[in-house]
Subunit: 558 residues, 2 copies
């Protein structure tokens, strides 16, 4: 009976509940990795309810302090500790428990867990957890990285029933989905390895109007897929189209080639300033999840027209959905959509691109073909493009429906209504200081501090000025006075201005003040500008932070 | 010689120089009325240079204090005082001085002025001042209302040489350009009479999604023109077009009729909050220079195509210029332009409108035909439309080139480079609280304050949500907590969302606090939002103030 009780009572859960440091964090649970939303706090509550209802009060059932400490130790570390009081199992024992009748066991490192009673509480659904039944859960956690935190490890530890016999590791029995990852440039600042997310160092961002390919930020949601070019076919289908499939060579030979300059930015760029204000689980980007490149390919409009899209015909289709070859362990692929008006508008310049800065797309940037939807947030520029669907509906993917949306600062995971906000398409106006760095020591030149950075908001309407950013203001005295920066941009082609502006300014340092905060803000051609403070735009996903960018420096010569 | 000296020395100038209260204000000189920019501060400086160079030091020549006081008295009042020491002239004497040889005299009320030496210093040019030579300047000042302030009256008074014989008034000899003004609704809040500028009271704004025609804000730059419908012809010409002329009936019968809902807003709306921070000369709009209507007419695209515009042909033309029938006393008409991409894009919905909310356009709103360029700031929606020109160039009008632009908070009239900023086209995202009013006493209901207002940013891309405003946040505790308002909008037609959103919220009043500031901010579908404070967006023209809107209220029941 004790054995049975210990199986039902999540040790780690009780432990986490008694730890104020953990319980607060738990509500805004991890959306890293594939960035799927799992309501682990609901799972925890459900586990508590089950325990309370079926077995009596939590107080009676709460483990001894020593057990709790042990569980914390076990769950916090990268390797599980042997728990001498628990039985030793062999891989075959675990493999035999791969169904509800026998019980559903999984291993994590050298721990053995009976998760039968947790199946229905699993936020991702019982069926997804069943994928790991009778085997290691490690490879799945590598894919769905929201599991990779102490709270979840602690929750799992509550279901511990034993340990694997010495030296056994079941995780090798599942192929590593990340086995096709390419080599990356060592200068990239890695924010997560699996999936790979890395940003460009600020100092390297502002060197050139075109970001070098191997320094361009990488934002993968899933493992990089292995692509067999001989088998590659882009399928195009949906409302009003005949279904066609095109090879890379078809794309390259059947349609007119176009080249555009366009900036891509992750919706989470500058999340770090939001995280600093209030904890956000997710990739903690500084300001380097942005880059500018020259993209070559064919227009989506030409390809859709070839497939039968008739711009003049009235159709109910409002969206163009994209699917990538990157997929999770259940075969669910990355997906997103844009508005059809954006897709078919002559001036919209949406490309099916196969070259980046004059070279074939690299594996990390979507080889062989990706969407370049200029003026649209990075997440909709689907890489490793496999399928285009004209539809009345938006993409129903997690990333379109339950991610990459923003909410009021007071909205949290307990109150969020994902349907109440539109999927991010165009990003807001933003800018950042890339030099000096935060906390850097600087020397003045005749009382001036040289400051450099980028500003961005893609726009189709150049509004006479030729660029979407019309001004960047920089201040070193808290906004009392502003210096207008010099802008440098890729020349706009007719009315299109899809690229960022790099800027620099010489800003007067307040006299006799060593610790200085430098601020920048950009204004776009609709005279939208950035809000003063992060607090007003803070949101649970930490997206589209465009508050005035601030860096603190120390002036060494005054 | 004394007489000669007194003519050359602008008394008012010296007086203004010795008055700190005036000198500071003078730099940001009046741009009211037709909103043409005149550099009166440069005129004053030039007058000073002339005096200094030709006649010795200012110290020697500065008038006695008693004269200065007298000049201030004379210039500050609405009627000129008789100056007994100066000669009396008759209208014929003045009329004889209408050229440089005889001297150029003008009258203002009953004052007679020799402005010969001021001709070349006149910011509007000598030729414009010569229009008044030998006669009254009053009607011109009624047209160019930037003259209507104490500084300019004081400057003129420096050129006083006498007074008109009793009872004479030369201003009646020039036809009043404002003789065709219509009757207006008494509820409109009049900000200037000539030209007529008036806004809708906040409480009436939020009553209906469509603003009643006679309560719709009026922003005229010049007198309302008298239109003879029998003679009315809209001329269409320019790059790649055959020149054609169309009557109202032609427009109504030759092209397909379209109806759209669209909000118009003056770029100066909410200027009052900028004026409160730092003085701005110009129409002091509160938040009522905005309205929403259903507009009917024909599409500009259809008319341009009829005139020969071929969308598929590559042309250098990038702009569509509009001219109105409203003109100044030299015949210079109101003008503006929009980008051709906006004009010819199928989804752009630019109309040549002849109906507003189902009724023919009123005189104040552009009878018989006006431009409705949805999503573009009011000033480009040219009324009393007489001419459309396809061109490589923007409109060269004052209002396109030297007005309706925004600059850094530190830019003033001494440093402004008008060419450095693009003409405002799309307005930024904004919102305002219309109820309660500022300084209103309110009672709570279960601790909640009901708050209502509008939010606006026109956008072609509905981004899935159906409206261009995705959220309005309201706070009564300085932004610590936000309540998400309920939005009410005209249903978007396909992807277009040209209309505002009205909103309401029940906001918790901080306990035991009588004086409360309520704040609102809107977020658009590109997740652009409003900046926290006015200081960061303050600009010399006071345009596009979209800082968080704030009203102070007193809670009477706590």
């Amino acid at each position: 009976m004790v054995q049975r009780l210990s199986r039902l009572l999540p040790k780690g859960f009780a432990c986490a509940r008694s730890s104020p440091a953990l319980s607060g964090d738990f509500a805004g649970v991890a959306l890293d990795g594939s960035e799927r939303q799992y309501s682990w706090q609901h799972a925890r509550a459900a586990a508590a309810a089950l325990v309370t209802a079926g077995l009596g009060s939590l107080l009676v059932l709460r483990p001894q302090t020593s057990e709790c400490e042990e569980a914390k130790l076990a769950s916090a570390g990268q390797t599980q500790r042997k728990q001498p009081a628990l039985p030793i199992y062999h891989a075959e024992d675990v493999a035999n428990h791969n169904n509800k009748e026998q019980g559903v066991w999984v291993t994590y490192k050298d721990g053995v867990y009976d998760v039968t009673d947790f199946l229905e509480m699993h936020p991702g659904g019982a069926s997804r957890l069943m994928l790991a039944a009778g085997g290691a859960i490690d490879p799945f956690w590598a894919m769905y990285q929201q599991h990779q935190n102490d709270e979840i490890r602690s929750l799992l530890e509550g279901y511990r029933i034993g340990s694997l016999a010495g030296g056994q590791d079941m995780s090798q029995q599942v192929a590593d989905p990340y086995s096709h990852e390419p080599q990356r440039h060592p200068a990239l600042i890695v924010r997560s390895q699996k999936p790979f997310n890395a940003e460009t160092p600020a100092a390297l961002l502002i060197g050139k109007l075109y970001t070098p390919n191997d320094l361009f930020y990488v934002r993968n949601h899933l493992p990089v897929p292995a692509v067999d070019l001989a088998a590659y076919a882009l399928r195009i289908e949906g409302e009003g189209l005949r279904t066609i499939e095109l090879s890379l060579k078809d794309l390259q030979t059947m349609f007119k080639r176009h080249t555009i300059s366009a900036t891509l930015q992750c919706a989470g760029n500058r999340r770090i300033d939001m995280s600093d204000l209030k904890d956000i689980k997710g990739t903690t980007w500084a300001a380097g999840a942005i880059g500018n490149a020259e993209w070559s390919g064919v227009t989506l409009k030409d390809v859709l027209e070839y497939a039968g899209l008739d711009e003049s015909s009235e159709t109910d289709a409002e969206h163009v959905q994209f699917e990538g070859l990157d997929s999770d362990m259940e075969g669910v692929c990355y997906g997103a959509s844009i508005l059809i008006e954006k897709a078919i508008n002559k001036g919209a310049d949406v490309l099916l691109a196969f070259e980046m800065n004059g070279r074939p797309l690299s594996k990390d940037h979507g080889y062989p073909v990706r969407v370049i939807a200029p003026g649209i947030v990075g997440a909709r520029n689907v890489k490793w493009l496999s399928r285009i669907i004209i539809s009345k509906e938006e993409s129903q993917s997690h990333w379109q429906q339950h991610d990459y949306k923003s909410f009021s600062p007071n909205t949290d995971y307990d109150t969020v209504d994902w349907d109440s906000a539109p999927a991010i398409q165009e990003p807001n106006v933003t800018s950042a200081i890339c030099s000096p760095n935060n906390h850097e020591a600087v020397t003045t030149s005749e009382g001036m501090i040289p400051v450099k950075g980028f500003a961005y908001r893609s726009s189709r309407m150049k509004s006479g000025g030729g660029h979407s950013i019309v001004r960047v203001d920089v201040s070193a005295d808290g906004g009392k006075t502003w210096t207008v920066a010099d802008l440098r941009s890729v020349p706009a082609k007719r009315s299109r201005a899809w690229s960022w502006s790099l800027w620099e300014a010489e800003v007067p340092a307040p006299a006799a003040q060593r610790d200085i905060e430098i601020i920048c803000k950009a204004t776009d051609n609709a005279y939208n500008t950035q809000p003063d403070s992060v607090a007003g735009v803070w949101n649970l996903r930490g997206v589209l932070n465009n508050a005035w960018h601030r860096v603190k420096v120390q002036v060494t010569d005054q």
